[in-house]
C-alpha cells in the first residue's frame, strides 16, 4: 500500500489543464487543419487532386477544395504541389456538425462544430454516456478513443464516459467505414440506445470510408446506416481533436476557450 502511495505521489498530476488553459502543443510535425492558398495555384494545375489517395481534393473555380472527411492527412498533396499552395497547420480543431462543413476552400474560416440544441444540452451537457462501435476500424481510432479515458485526458471530468452497453448509453461513437458484415450489428446497437440519442462519427473511415471509400466491402461511413450529429476528421483523430469536438457538441467549448 505504501509502495503504491509513494509511486502515486511521485507520478504527480498528469491530466491536461486544457480547456481551462491552452491545449498541450502537438508535435512540430503534427498535421492539423490544412490551409489552401489558391493564389499560388498555376492555371490548370491539378497535381494535388491527382496525388490524393482518397479523392479528397477537387479543383473548383476558386482553387482546390479539400474534404476533411476524406483526408487521411498523408501529406501526398504537399509533396505533389510544386508551389506550396497547401500546407498543414497545427490547428487541432477539425470537428463539424454537418458533412458539408468539412469541405474547406481557399481562405475560408473553419466551420467549427456547434452545440446541440438547448433540450439535448440540458440532457447530455453534464452527463454523456457513449457506446463505442468499431465497424471496420483499424484500431487506430479505437486506440485514440481509449486514450480519452486515461488520466491524461480524463473525459470523466466532463461527465463523458464510454459505457459497456448501448442500453446504458446516450449515443454511439462509431469508428470504421462500416463493413457490410457490421451493418446489422451497428443498426441493432443503434436501436438499442434509448431515445433521444446522438451519433458521433470519428475518423476518416466513419465519415467517408477513408482509405477504403472505393471498396465494395464497406458502406462509406456511419451516415449510410444511422443519422450522424458530429463528424470528427483524422486518420486517426488526435485525442485533442476528439475531445475538442465532443466538448463543442455539448456546448462546453466555444471559439478558443471554455464556456462551462
Amino acid at each position: 500500500m505504501f509502495r503504491e502511495l509513494r509511486a502515486r505521489i511521485r507520478s504527480g498530476h498528469a491530466t491536461v489543464a486544457w480547456p481551462g488553459a491552452p491545449p498541450p502543443a502537438p508535435s512540430e510535425r503534427f498535421r492539423g487543419r490544412p490551409e489552401i492558398d489558391a493564389g499560388k495555384c498555376p492555371d490548370g494545375c491539378a497535381a494535388c487532386a491527382e496525388a490524393c489517395p482518397t479523392g479528397a481534393i477537387a479543383i473548383g473555380a476558386e482553387g482546390p477544395r479539400l474534404d476533411l472527411g476524406r483526408c487521411v492527412f498523408c501529406a501526398g498533396c504537399l509533396e505533389a504541389c510544386p508551389e506550396g499552395a497547401i500546407r498543414y497547420t497545427r490547428d487541432h480543431r477539425l470537428a463539424a456538425r454537418r458533412r458539408e462543413d468539412l469541405v474547406i476552400g481557399p481562405g475560408a474560416a473553419p466551420a467549427l462544430a456547434t452545440a446541440l440544441d438547448a433540450e439535448l444540452r440540458r440532457l447530455f451537457g453534464r452527463s454523456l454516456k457513449l457506446r463505442q462501435v468499431s465497424a471496420g476500424g483499424c484500431n487506430g481510432c479505437e486506440s485514440e478513443v481509449n486514450v480519452l479515458s486515461t488520466v491524461v485526458w480524463d473525459v470523466g471530468r466532463f461527465g463523458v464516459q464510454i459505457v459497456a452497453s448501448p442500453r446504458h448509453a446516450d449515443g454511439l461513437l462509431i469508428t470504421g467505414p462500416v463493413t457490410t458484415a457490421m451493418e446489422l450489428a451497428l443498426r441493432k446497437t443503434y436501436e438499442a440506445v434509448p431515445a433521444p440519442k446522438i451519433v458521433i462519427a470519428a475518423g476518416a473511415c466513419a465519415i467517408s470510408g477513408g482509405p477504403f471509400l472505393f471498396e465494395r466491402e464497406q458502406l462509406g461511413g456511419a451516415a449510410a446506416v444511422v443519422p450522424v450529429d458530429l463528424y470528427i476528421p483524422g486518420c486517426p483523430p488526435n485525442p485533442l481533436t476528439l475531445l475538442d469536438g465532443i466538448l463543442r457538441l455539448l456546448g462546453r467549448l466555444e471559439g478558443e476557450g471554455r464556456v462551462g
Binding site: R3, A7, R8, R10, A14, P26, S27, E28, R29, F30, R31, C52, P53, T54, V72, F73, C74, A75, G76, R131, Q132, V133, S134, A135, G136, G137, C138, N139, G140, C141, E142, S143, E144, V145, N146, V147, T150, V151, V152, I162, A164, S165, G176, P177, T179, A181, M182, A185, T189, G210, P211, F212, F214, E215, R216, E217, Q218, C235, P236, N238
Partner: protein, 498 residues
C-alpha cells in the same frame, strides 16, 4: 524419390515466376511437409487464381533456419485436392482460407470451418456439417456467446464458449466482421492508395505492415533503401512495439483491478506514441515508411529531444512494472492462466510473444533479418511457462530491449539520403517480405503480372496464426479469465479479416 526443396530465397527478395517449378500437389505436400519437418514453419500458404479465374495454383512460403525461405508452387487440377493439413497440421487455418476463397474441396481436412464468411457459420459452406459451431451437450453445460459488439472499445468479433460451470471446454472464434477487402483492393496496384491501405491493415501496426509493403515494392523494383532510412524504420518499428506492449501491460493490470500500474502505463503508452509523432507527425507512424525509404528525417536536435523523452518514459515504465511484478494478487491471477504449450507452438506454427513465452526462440529480427536488424537485432526475449505471466514477462523484456535499440539509433544514425526512387515492379515475379511486428511475424507476398501490377497480394498478419492459439489457451480455463487471457495476446481483428 526425394522431396522437392523449393526455390530458395531470403527475406526481401524477389524471384522470377518462371524460375519456380510448378509441382504436382503430392510433390508440393512432400516438399512443404519436408521443409517443416526439417525445422521450418509455414509463413504463408495461399491460392492464386489463373487469369481466367479457372485454374488454381497453391503457393507456400516456408521459413527455415539460417535466414532461408523456401517457395513452393503447385497446380490444382479440377476443383479438389487432398489436404496438406493431413501431413502438416500448421496448414490447417490456411487451408480453411483457401477452401473459403476459391470454393475448392480440400479433401481430408479435419474441419473446414469458415475463416471470414460469417453467414457460413449458420447456413453452412461447402461442407455444412463441418462449418457449424461446435456444441457440447449434457447436463449443466451452457453456452456463452459474446460479440460482435463488445463491452470495451475494441474491434468486433464473435466468441462462443462451451462451458461447464466456470470451466471452458471449448472456445470458438468467428471473425470476418472487419473485412474491408484489403487484398482485393491491392490487385492492379500499386497505387498511392495501396500504401494508405497497408498502413491501416492493422492501425496499431502501421509501421510493421508499411515496412513489409515497402520491402515488397523495393524487392520488385530492385532497389535497397538507404541505410539511414533502414535505421529510422527500425526505430519506428521498435517504438511501435514499446507503445503497444506498455499499453497492453497496463490493460492487463486493469483486468486484474490493479489500477496504480494501469493508470501509469496508460499515460506512458501515450508518451511513446508522442515520440513517434515527434518523428513523423502521427502517433501511429502514418507517413513514416515509404517505398524506397522514409518520409521524415531525424535531425540531431530532434534525436536529442527524443532521447531525453525516451529515457523519462522508459524509467516510468520500469517503475510501473516494478509495482505490477511486486504485487502478489497480480501474480496469482497471471500465473497458470491461459497456458499455451511449447508443442502447440511448434506444431501449429504460432508466432510472436506467445511462442517466445513458451521458450520457442522465434523472431524475424534474428532469424530473417533485413535492413538495420542485419547488424543490430535485439536479443530474443524468452520466458518458459506459456501463461499470462510469461507473455507479460516477454513483453516487459521486449520493452527493455527495444528501448535500448532506439537509444542506439538515436545516438548514431547512419548518414546519407532518406529515400531512393522505387522503380516500377518487375513483371511476372514473386516477392516475399517478413517483419517482426509487435504481435509477431508479418508476411507479405506479392505476385506481379506481365505489366508489373499486383495479380495477387497476400498478407499474413501474426493474428492469422495466433487466434487459434488463444482458443487453445482458454481450454479448461475459467471463463472469467477470458478478458485477461485475451489481452495477453491482444490480437488484431482487422489484421485477420483484411
Amino acid at each position: 524419390m526425394s522431396a522437392p526443396a523449393g526455390v530458395a530465397m531470403r527475406n526481401g527478395e524477389r524471384v522470377a515466376e518462371a524460375e519456380i517449378p510448378v509441382l504436382e500437389v503430392d510433390e508440393f505436400h512432400e516438399g512443404v511437409a519436408g521443409a517443416v519437418e526439417a525445422g521450418g514453419r509455414i509463413a504463408s500458404l495461399f491460392g492464386v487464381a489463373g487469369p481466367a479465374g479457372d485454374a488454381l495454383e497453391l503457393f507456400a512460403v516456408v521459413a527455415g533456419a539460417g535466414g532461408s525461405l523456401a517457395l513452393f508452387r503447385a497446380e490444382v487440377r479440377g476443383n479438389r485436392y487432398p489436404a496438406l493439413t493431413h501431413h502438416c497440421p500448421q496448414a490447417h487455418y490456411f487451408e480453411r482460407e483457401i477452401a473459403e476463397q476459391f470454393g475448392v474441396a480440400v479433401e481430408g481436412h479435419p474441419g473446414l470451418k469458415p475463416v471470414r464468411d460469417l453467414a457460413a457459420w449458420h447456413d453452412g459452406g461447402p461442407e455444412p456439417r463441418a462449418s457449424r459451431f461446435f456444441r457440447v451437450d449434457g447436463e449443466e453445460i451452457h453456452e456463452v456467446g459474446v460479440g460482435p459488439v463488445h463491452a470495451g472499445v475494441i474491434e468486433p468479433g464473435h466468441f462462443r464458449f462451451q462451458c461447464h460451470g466456470e470451466r471452458v471446454l471449448h472456445l470458438e472464434i468467428a471473425l470476418g466482421y472487419q473485412h474491408r477487402g484489403v487484398e482485393r483492393a491491392a490487385l492492379g496496384g500499386p497505387t498511392p492508395r495501396t500504401l494508405i491501405q497497408m498502413e491501416t491493415v492493422a492501425g496499431d501496426t502501421t509501421i510493421g505492415h508499411a515496412t513489409a509493403y515497402a520491402q515488397v515494392c523495393e524487392a520488385l523494383g530492385g532497389v535497397e533503401p538507404p541505410a539511414r532510412a533502414e535505421a529510422i524504420r527500425g526505430l519506428g518499428l521498435e517504438l511501435e512495439r514499446i507503445a503497444n506492449h506498455a499499453g497492453d501491460l497496463g490493460a492487463l493490470a486493469a483486468d486484474v483491478a490493479y489500477l496504480p500500474a494501469a493508470a501509469q502505463l496508460g499515460r506512458l503508452r501515450g508518451d511513446f506514441l508522442n515520440l513517434t509523432a515527434a518523428l513523423c507527425g502521427s502517433r501511429f507512424g502514418r507517413g513514416l515508411v515509404r517505398p524506397g525509404g522514409v518520409g521524415f528525417d531525424l535531425e540531431p536536435d530532434l534525436a536529442g529531444e527524443m532521447r531525453h523523452k525516451l529515457d523519462a518514459a522508459a524509467r516510468g515504465v520500469e517503475r510501473a512494472l516494478a509495482l505490477l511484478w511486486a504485487t502478489p494478487s497480480v501474480k496469482t491471477r497471471f500465473e497458470g492462466t491461459g497456458v499455451l504449450h511449447r508443442l502447440q507452438c511448434e506444431e501449429l506454427g504460432f508466432v510472436g510473444p506467445p511462442v517466445r513465452a513458451c521458450a520457442v526462440a522465434r523472431d524475424v529480427r534474428r532469424d530473417h533479418p533485413r535492413g538495420v536488424y542485419a547488424s543490430a537485432a535485439p536479443p530474443v526475449a524468452l520466458a518458459h511457462d506459456g501463461d499470462v505471466a510469461a507473455r507479460a514477462a516477454v513483453r516487459r523484456l521486449e520493452i527493455e530491449h527495444s528501448a535500448a535499440f532506439v537509444r542506439d539509433r538515436l545516438e548514431a544514425l547512419p548518414a546519407g539520403p532518406l529515400r531512393v526512387a522505387c522503380p516500377s515492379a518487375a513483371p511476372r515475379s514473386v516477392a516475399v517480405a517478413l517483419v517482426e511486428g509487435w504481435r509477431g511475424e508479418i508476411c507479405h507476398v506479392a505476385l506481379t503480372d506481365e505489366a508489373g501490377r499486383f495479380r495477387r497480394y497476400k498478407i499474413t498478419d501474426p493474428s492469422f496464426h495466433n487466434w487459434f492459439a488463444l482458443a487453445l489457451a482458454m481450454r479448461d480455463g475459467q471463463i472469467s479469465d477470458f478478458p485477461l487471457c485475451n489481452k495477453s495476446f491482444n490480437l488484431s481483428y482487422c489484421g485477420h479479416d483484411l
